[in-house]
């Protein structure tokens, strides 16, 4: 079965790593991956997660005051 993913795009790598820490603590299945080329010309990384976890991810980012650019389905 094909999994449905989204990614969170951040302004800085440090924010991405902070998001990784927070989401891992919440036991969510996530992975830091290079930003897909079509989303940004940036050379950084983004946080990939399962679509169904979107509300949880958004809450964690908000509670943890992690600034991010946007969330995209990939």
């Amino acid at each position: 079965m094909k999994e449905n993913y989204s990614v969170v795009i951040f302004y800085s790598t440090s924010a991405a790593i902070r998001a990784e820490n927070l989401t891992k603590k919440a036991n969510l299945k996530i992975k830091l991956i290079p930003v897909p080329r079509h989303l940004s010309s940036d050379c950084g990384i983004c946080l990939r997660f399962n679509n169904e976890d979107k509300p949880k991810i958004e809450k964690i980012l908000q509670d943890g005051k992690v600034e991010y650019e946007n969330i995209y389905k990939i």
Binding site: S12, S14, I17, R18, N21, V35, D42, C43, G44
Partner: protein, 383 residues
Amino acid sequence: MIYFDNAATSYPKPKEVGQAMLYFLEKIGASPGRSGHRLSIEAGRILYQTRESLAELFNADDPLRIIFTLNVTEALNLALKGLLQPGDQVITSTMEHNSVMRPLRELEKRGVEVKVVSCSPEGLLDSQNIEKSIRKNTRLIVLNHGSNVIGTLLPIAEVGEIARKHNILFLVDTAQTAGCYSLDIKKDNIDLLAFTGHKALFGPPGTGGLVLGERTDIKKLKPLKVGGTGSRSEWEEQPDFLPDIYESGTPNTVGLSGLNEGVRFVLRKGIEKIYQHELELTQKLIEGLKEIPGVIVYGEDQVKDRVAVISFNIKDKLPSEVGLRLDEECNIMSRVGLHCSPATHKTIGTFPTGTIRFSMSWFNTFEEVDQTILAVRNIARYV
């Protein structure tokens, strides 16, 4: 060999520090925040963990408000040159190191007013004298927390409160206190905390940073350098977010991985335990030195609430001569001269000859203190 020059660079380091650095070189290697592969991400994680460890140590809420620099000098330069504009007044004390005095004297030539508040010959500061110096254009107060010459402390929490009352920013140079004396960016009312990694935090040289408190607005703090950050690569302008705005170029990942272990070591031992041990060593050393005829120990008479830095002289002997004999005949490493702090030596009355300085760390022992007292006694014998 007895190493009593920890106020310059601590030695030895906890073994985990070197191990982490070797691990980084051999197993990770990559640039953080540049590429998306797993080694680059791992490098980024290590940098982030280092920020988290430091945030825990200084009780800072946001690890991303910790900016890495080469050392405390660079952190102080960033804060002073980034904040002060011509026409601003800055208040400091006569206990400062040249890492503060030289940037201030340079800024003075560009139109910044520099007010240097006097301390007593024992190195003590009356915080009311700071308050009396505040003018309409006072922008910043900068103080050296622990003296690198005589180990006395300045009342930072009190001065921080004064700064808050007058809506002025407060920058603290923690070169001699971070890692061996309790520091809390909130309780001590600090707005910018400059630290170095290679002293009591047990990191390698080439590590340090600036912690920004909540009152410090990054729109008003210009970066010292700009360049590649790995973020916002489509822009030719510097990013405006933390920590990238202040961290251009590939960072000292190897050094910072070591610093992380140094800070973890301090957190595991506990600041209070480290402080107590160093204070007991200091008490024993000062008492022993004072009993030797012809030896003058500088600073406060009472040995309490201070860091493990001691300055002394032997009557009619040059510090350089004593230092050389300590090294060659007794295998004791000290530092002699002015310790990059002409202002402090003028305050305590030892300019321009200077003093002999002993500075200790967690790794020093009471036996070493005994041996050192005996060595100084021998050198002083034929005065």
